[in-house]
């Protein structure tokens, strides 16, 4: 279970990680030289979700119900989620956990306004949040 306390400490950890990696490499610009580590991005992305036990179930069901999502690789799904919040991999790495949280939160709201939604076993979820759950499922398999 991901309690708020766990998550906050994880977020603090991630912030530290971003700062450390930035300084080690001598600045974020250098990151562009490398191809993105999609798994790492995905792993960080799914920390925005809580209750991973349930989120994973939802993600699994989404993948079962939607073949288009099922066919996406972890990389493709992660990239699509970055696109949804209008960031590329570099910008994501630069973004603080707080900023990434805000961007995804706003995207969820937008989904509910624009009715970009999916129905999974009777649940109405924003497409973005359902994809985050699917990503968690793919990260963990």
């Amino acid at each position: 279970m991901n309690g708020l306390v766990n998550l906050l400490s994880r977020r603090r950890f991630l912030t530290t990680l971003v700062l450390v990696s930035g300084s080690v490499l001598g600045g974020v610009g250098y990151q562009a030289l490398f191809s993105p580590d999609w798994r790492k991005i995905a792993e960080r992305m799914v920390t925005l979700l809580e209750r991973h036990d349930i989120a994973r179930q939802i993600g699994k069901r989404y993948v079962e119900l939607d073949s288009a999502v099922a066919h996406l690789t972890l990389e493709q799904l992660t990239e699509s989620l970055l696109k949804a919040i209008k960031l590329n991999a570099n910008a994501w790495s630069d973004a603080t956990p707080e900023k990434s949280l805000v961007l995804f939160s706003n995207k969820l709201r937008e989904d509910f306004v624009l009715e970009n939604i999916v129905k999974i076993d009777g649940w109405i979820l924003s497409e973005t949040e359902a994809r985050l759950c699917a990503l968690l499922h793919k990260v963990l398999v």
């Binding site: 708020l4 998550l7 925005l48 979700l49 809580e50 209750r51 349930i54 989120a55 179930q57 939802i58 949280l101 805000v102 995804f104 939160s105 706003n106 969820l108 709201r109 989904d111 509910f112 306004v113 009715e115 939604i117 129905k119 076993d121 009777g122 649940w123 109405i124 979820l125 924003s126 949040e129 759950c133």
Partner: protein
């Protein structure tokens, strides 16, 4: 004054100015309006002061439509009528409910909300309600200090409901009617039929019978039928000696367009992402200035016009979820940052909840095939019983689906939780918990023309100038509001009109 009809001589005649048949919310309201007036009023009430099994059995009938009706239990047949067990939820119909809505077949009242406004205000204390502030949510949030949800006006709004104690009309107004000298209430008096003059243009007599008692007749200048949303139609259909097919039934409309609110309890659960979300305004009753209120979610005019929807309301109920998976909790962090209004009034609730249940109440599309008709089965007096064929349509189902979807969208948008309902798994079929609201309407609908209705804007049966109908059977459409406040408002209006006619 109360008179037990059983004590009257057989074949006697009651001579009066106004004969009101039925002493429920409508009949009692009309009778009270005449207290102290120069007119003599006879109220003919089937029951006594207490329920009686044989009298109640006169309401028995067959349900040949959707299997949710229990005709006998829904309606109560004794002094005070069904208000002896009503729940007391009150609200006027919305302005739009009276309009012709081009997307809703057979919609449009011949009167507007403005025509009823002053009567609604008068009806308010009669139903034991507090301040008449239905369109002013701020009044209640200020008084209670409770936050309302920041809903998107293009979709939903918070609407005000008032709560009656609930007023048991038979108990509350018994003494007053008992003391009235010009109003006589005849108990244990069962109307059998209405008879007209030879040209069948005027009611001359009401034939009344007691169980194990005399048969009497009532002659009056004006007759007002107030026997409830189903029985009003039955009486007109039974009164077929002078006009074939029954009174007011030249177009075959009596009994048709039978409507009731479509209920899904629950229609959906919301798994909360914020367990301390303060929904007290919606969950509990709040005492304000001598009245009680709570709030519901309701469709906005914008939504109805844009999406061609019927009217609906949604109760937010403290109840455990059918689907107990706390999906909302997945998004707690992401939802915490949602602040659509920019200034979230996050008063925290004292009690934590994982979920709430949404109870949907939907306005049905008027449907001529949904109807009440007479059968060949007979009651104790040998009168034909009714069969009720309550129908709902695909249009109703589509509206149910959309209403619940909109609620889920709004809870997600506001960042408060995620919706889950069986209907989202199967859009084609009605969920098994479909119920009727116990609000029997439409069977003697009000209209501008006898081609499309049974009564005119004054609730007078077309072509029968001295016969009027009181009660929800005259509603051509029913919005989402429970009917009794409107029944009482219309009864007050009818009483004013009747006085004018008599003087």
């Amino acid at each position: 004054m109360f008179i037990d009809c059983k004590n009257l001589p057989d074949n006697s005649t009651i001579d009066t100015d106004v004969c009101v048949i039925g002493a429920g919310a409508a009949g009692i309201t009309i009778a009270r309006e005449f207290i102290g007036s120069p007119e003599r009023v006879a109220v003919i009430e089937s029951g006594g002061f207490k329920p009686d099994a044989r009298t109640q059995a006169l309401y028995k009938g067959d349900n040949v439509g959707l299997p949710t009706f229990d005709l006998e239990v829904n309606r109560l047949r004794y002094f005070g009528g069904t208000t002896n067990h009503w729940a007391g939820h009150c609200r006027p119909l919305d302005r739009i409910d009276f309009e012709v809505r081009d997307w809703m077949p057979h919609s449009g009242w011949p009167i507007s909300r403005a025509d009823l406004e002053s009567y609604y205000r008068r009806a308010q204390p009669i139903c034991g309600l507090g301040p008449y502030e239905y369109e002013n949510l701020d009044f209640w949030t200020t008084k209670t200090g409770l936050p309302d949800l920041e809903l998107d006006d293009a979709r939903l709004k918070s609407a005000v409901y008032n709560q009656s104690p609930p007023t048991r009309f038979g108990k509350v107004y018994r003494e007053e009617l008992g003391k009235a000298t010009n109003v006589k209430v005849y108990l244990n008096a069962n109307l059998q039929e209405l008879r007209t003059d030879s040209s069948a243009s005027k009611v001359t007599q009401a034939r009344v019978t007691c169980i194990d008692g005399p048969k009497v007749s009532v002659s009056a200048r004006l007759f007002i039928l107030a026997t409830g949303g189903m029985e009003n139609a039955r009486i007109l259909l039974l009164s077929d000696k002078d006009r074939s097919g029954g009174l007011g039934n030249e177009q075959g409309l009596v009994g048709r367009y039978f409507m009731d609110h479509i209920l899904l309890r629950p229609g959906e659960d919301i798994s909360l992402s914020d367990p301390k979300l303060n929904l007290d305004l919606y969950h509990s009753l709040h005492s304000v200035d001598g009245g009680k209120m709570f709030s519901v979610l309701a469709s906005t005019e914008r939504l109805m016009r844009k999406e061609r929807m019927p009217n609906f309301r949604i109760h937010l109920i403290r109840a455990s979820a059918q689907n107990k998976t706390p999906v909302g909790k997945i998004f707690t962090l992401l939802d915490e940052l949602a602040d659509p209004a920019g200034d979230r009034p996050r008063l925290e609730s004292k009690t934590k909840r994982d979920s709430i249940a949404l109870h949907l109440v939907l306005e049905p599309v008027p449907n001529p095939d949904s109807r009440i008709s007479l059968t060949d089965k007979r009651d104790l007096f040998g009168q034909k019983k009714i069969a009720v064929n309550w129908q709902v349509t695909d249009a109703d189902l589509a509206a149910v689906y959309r209403a619940l979807e909109l609620a889920a969208l709004e809870f997600g948008r506001m960042g408060y939780g995620r919706g889950c309902g069986v209907i989202f798994e199967d859009q084609e079929h009605w969920p098994s918990n479909l119920e009727a609201g116990r609000h029997h309407c439409g069977t003697t609908r009000m209209s501008t023309s006898p081609k499309t209705g049974v009564v005119n804007r004054d609730c007078q049966v077309f072509d029968v100038p001295n016969l009027y109908i009181a009660g929800s059977s005259v509603f051509p459409t029913i919005g989402y509001a429970n009917p009794t406040l409107t029944i009482v408002a219309l009864a007050l209006r009818l009483a004013d009109h009747a006085k004018e006619q008599l003087r």
